[in-house]
């Protein structure tokens, strides 16, 4: 199978969906002539023109609000927020308007909106360009939250997100754009709300989101060398969460490590831990371990930043600990 970068896979998804449906349009800063700060939208402006590929001013609240109104009136906008940190400027539009419209209006409104953005740290972008804010949106009923970790997942899930009739927060990771992986030439979709077992194993389950899934796979390699077979699950969609996939795995392995880059407190790892202990308590052979970011703003210094973000070693250590093995 051909190899594509995460960046090119996303770009291809947008090209395919814009060709397929004239209601799909793109809005955001530098997404048109420049092709997007990350080049995810390159080539679209030339092909579809400025009505469907709108370069906007630096006005996150404004263009996200416009995207919400456009979605309510027949379009399928894909708005790009350059960094998830800037989504705070559009919070009213996302949380009070997009997420609520359907329920609040008694099911009459449809808001087929995708907000593409990049999250995560690890590149020295410091506190306002490195956050992992996915749980803010997971906490808001009415939104779907997707975080793909591979080029294959990125393409298939972005296409599904665009065709979905709900507001979707689609969070890419800044350290994944140059990663590559197999992506078939023929069109495909990946269903929203379905987790993927990235590696099978029988001794411990590691649930890890976004870039953490790649770190978990590295950790699984190291664990295998120590005789521990880790099963790595990438939920891919944080909301709705494919809990049954995780439960099935825990029923097989009896041990669970949950990994998420965002700060620990009130985070994804706590949510999964709570649900698994309720549904699979009798199968657990060890307390569930959480591996998450430090409860600090992301620091600029490389050494400090690495200490704030989970590393492969942290995942290995957590897995060894739930297997009652020495590090």
């Amino acid at each position: 199978m051909r190899e594509l970068s995460y960046r090119d896979a996303l770009n291809e998804a947008l090209h395919e969906e814009m060709a397929r449906d004239p209601c799909v349009c793109i809005l955001g800063e530098d997404v048109g002539r420049y092709g997007g700060v990350l080049q995810i939208t390159r080539g679209l402006y030339e092909k579809y023109g400025e009505k469907r590929v709108r370069d906007t001013p630096i006005s996150e609240a404004g263009f996200v609000g416009i995207a919400v109104g456009a979605a309510m009136t027949g379009l399928r906008p894909v708005a790009e927020i350059m960094y998830i940190d800037f989504s705070t400027l559009a919070m009213d539009q996302i949380v009070n308007q997009a997420a609520k419209a359907r329920y609040m209006f008694g099911g009459k409104a449809r808001v087929p909106l995708v907000i593409r953005t990049q999250g995560g740290g690890g590149r020295g972008n410091a506190a306002q360009h490195s956050q992992s804010l996915e749980m803010w949106y997971v906490h808001t009923p009415g939104l779907i939250v997707i975080q793909p970790s591979t080029p294959y997942d990125a393409k298939g899930l972005l296409k599904s997100a665009i065709r979905n009739d709900n507001p979707v927060i689609f969070i890419e990771h800044k350290l994944l754009y140059n990663t590559t992986g197999p992506v078939p030439e023929e069109p495909y979709l990946i269903p929203i709300g379905v987790a993927d077992v990235k590696r099978e194993g029988s001794d411990v389950t590691i649930v890890a989101t976004s870039r953490m899934a790649l770190l978990a796979l590295e950790a699984a390699e190291q664990l295998a060398a120590k005789g521990i077979q880790a099963e790595v699950i990438d939920p891919r969609t944080l909301k709705p969460l494919d809990l049954s996939c995780i439960i099935q795995s825990v029923q097989k392995t009896g041990r669970l490590v949950v990994v998420n880059e965002a700060p620990l407190t009130g985070g994804f790892t706590a949510e999964v831990t709570a649900r698994v202990q309720r549904q699979a308590f009798d199968w657990l052979d060890a307390p569930i371990m959480q591996v998450a970011g430090a409860d600090v703003p992301l620091p600029y210094n490389g050494r400090l930043e690495m200490a704030a973000i989970p590393q492969v070693r942290d995942i290995v250590d957590a897995a060894l600990s739930v297997c009652y093995r020495e590090a």
Partner: protein, 321 residues
Amino acid sequence: MELSHQQLADLYYRLWLIRLFDAAARRLFMENKLRGTTHTYTGQEAVAVGACSVLRPDDYITSTHRGHGHVLAKGGDPRRMMAELLGKATGYCKGKGGSMHIADLDIGVLGANGIVGGGIGIATGAAYSATVRGTDQVAICFFGDGASNQGILMEAGNMAALWRLPIIYLCEENQYAEFSPSRPFMAVEKLEQKAAAFGMPGVTVDGNDLLAVRRVVGEAVARARAGDGPTFVVAQTYRVEGHTVGDPLTYRPPEEAEQWRSPERDPIQRFGRKLVDDFGFTSAELKGLHEQAQQTIDEAIRFAEESPEPEPADLWEDVLA
């Protein structure tokens, strides 16, 4: 555009419909039949009715927390609105929205909004959407002088002007922003000056003169439909009642509202006199329209009160499509 006798009668009827709907909302709230809060449009009726009178059914509006008048002016069903106020399953939002969230997408009402200025982005998006879909629909974004200080107006107004979107930003200067007079919170002398910053024409109109509103908004709508871009219209009016029902109104002298209730200023009485003086209506005809509006409201209340509550299982319906 010349209005027929019937059309004029309908406008007068609609003014009363709004006035009486909100009088009923106030009473029901005081009787504890409404939950939360509600905001009356009393005194501003000519703005919504005049503006919506130049729209087509497929044109869009966004409304505000003070939104009953806009929805009724656009053709909303008073029965489903009243049922929504009472939280009933037959309401516009199946009882899940209440007073501040009435929407009727079938007639282009993209929702009242609980966030001050919350409709500005949505209305601008509807106008953008019309241009992409290649229709000649227009959008009217209703908001108040209080909302004119929200940042999103600057952002959306700039984009609307840049992209020549078919939208009218209709600022109702009702002189109050929640529980304060709005004047001390505006640096510009006249609200229409804000339009210059957005790069679009700004016009001020007497918001209590229905036909003047209709003329000014009609010109703006014609411009928008022709592809000539947005207009910022300031309709000067007065919020006769409090921010919410139950507002003690300690921040203004009571005689001020009395002046605005007077026949000289009240928009319904002004329009009624116009109908008699210039359009050959009789006072008996006006009385009949008033009574007809009252019957519609009474029927709406009856419908709402007899309607069922949502079922507990409905809690989980419509979170996602």
